[in-house]
């Protein structure tokens, strides 16, 4: 099933694209048919800069289990980071 379901959020980030490092302004999260991951569906994350064109994208395709583990790891890492460091670039 092509879900077209997605969440989009603004982000401050940099990502390494096929042409090098670039600023990313938006994240899209969705669950649909992957391009490369060997499953019918995957949790997909795109970090993008739509203003710079379709190729300004860093893409991830994850199993549901891996996606949850990654999300929890990110939160754990942030929770254990001193607040003064987090406030550097909020």
């Amino acid at each position: 099933m092509c879900t077209y379901e997605r969440e989009t959020l603004p982000v401050r980030a940099s990502g390494k694209t096929a042409s090098g490092w670039a600023s990313m302004t938006e994240a899209t999260v969705y669950f649909d048919h992957p391009v490369h991951f060997a499953a019918g569906h995957a949790l997909m994350i795109d970090l993008r800069d739509p203003a710079a064109g379709p190729s300004q994208r860093v893409a991830l395709e994850l199993s549901a289990t891996s996606a949850r583990a990654l999300a929890e790891s990110i939160l754990r890492t942030l929770d254990s980071t001193p607040a003064r460091l987090l406030s550097e670039l909020s």
Binding site: M1, C2, Y4, H33, V35, G40, R48, G53, P54, R57
Partner: protein
């Protein structure tokens, strides 16, 4: 599958006259032949779908696949283009119909055309193939596991598309539907609704449901590939085209 063929990228006039990239494969050892518009799946104008286009030509039919994402993402890789268009909500129905019409008109104008054109679509393209067949004078319509042909998306879904079943009376050509028994979108029950609507409207149609297959069973580059269902499905497709456009 013995025909010589020529393959090239061409520019066609799509919806609203947009000069659109398309992938054309033609058998070169026939004087006249029927044609098919290939509607790519949501992952885009990719290598696997181009292979499908070439397969039609090798079997004696001219095939043309418009790049439905060309407006937003000219020159981008198919996966980047698909991600970009997905983030914008997909391809609007009206634009899709205009792009398929552009492809149909291009095929009919070829010197080798016998004047007959069918459409085929996979996944999201399956629904789009049915939609195009309800709004354009296509001689045949093939739907390979298109979701939301017979029913709307669930009420809590953000999907913008609606079912096509209400327009099925306008379908002009013969219909072929190829589905997996294990697919949920579309499910066997949804395909039965489609069959009932086609029957009630007096349409000529064939629906095949393959056991042991789910969504995407034609996709040779994905784990959903089911060779038995795909091989049987290809026989149905080529037999259908021999009947309706050859």
């Amino acid at each position: 599958m013995n025909h010589n063929l020529r393959v090239e990228s061409v520019i066609i006039s799509g919806h609203d006259g947009h000069q659109q990239e398309a992938y054309l494969a033609q058998p070169t050892d026939v004087e006249r032949c029927g044609s098919v518009v290939v509607i790519h799946h949501m992952p885009g104008y990719d290598a696997a779908t181009r292979e499908i286009v070439r397969r039609f030509a090798a079997n004696g039919f001219t095939a043309l696949m418009p790049n439905l994402y060309h407006r937003e993402a000219p020159g981008a890789s198919p996966d980047d283009a698909a991600a970009f268009v997905r983030a914008n909500g997909g391809v609007p129905d009206e634009r899709l119909v205009g792009d398929v019409k552009g492809a149909m008109d291009y095929l009919k104008a070829l010197p080798s055309s016998n004047g007959k054109v069918a459409s085929i679509g996979f996944c999201s393209g399956g629904r789009q193939s049915v939609l195009a067949g309800c709004r354009l004078p296509l001689d045949g319509v093939i739907d390979c596991y298109g979701a939301f042909v017979a029913v709307d998306p669930p009420a809590d879904s953000p999907l913008k598309m609606t079912s096509v079943i209400g327009e099925i009376g306008a379908l002009r050509g013969e219909f072929l539907g190829l589905f997996g028994a294990e697919d949920q979108y579309p499910s066997v029950e949804q395909n039965e609704l489609l069959a009932a609507a086609l029957s009630a409207a007096g349409k000529t149609f064939t629906i095949r449901t393959y056991e042991g297959a789910g969504h995407g069973f034609f996709a040779v580059d994905r784990p959903s590939y089911r060779p038995e269902a795909a091989n049987e499905g290809w026989k149905e497709i080529l037999g259908f085209l021999e009947r309706v456009v050859a």
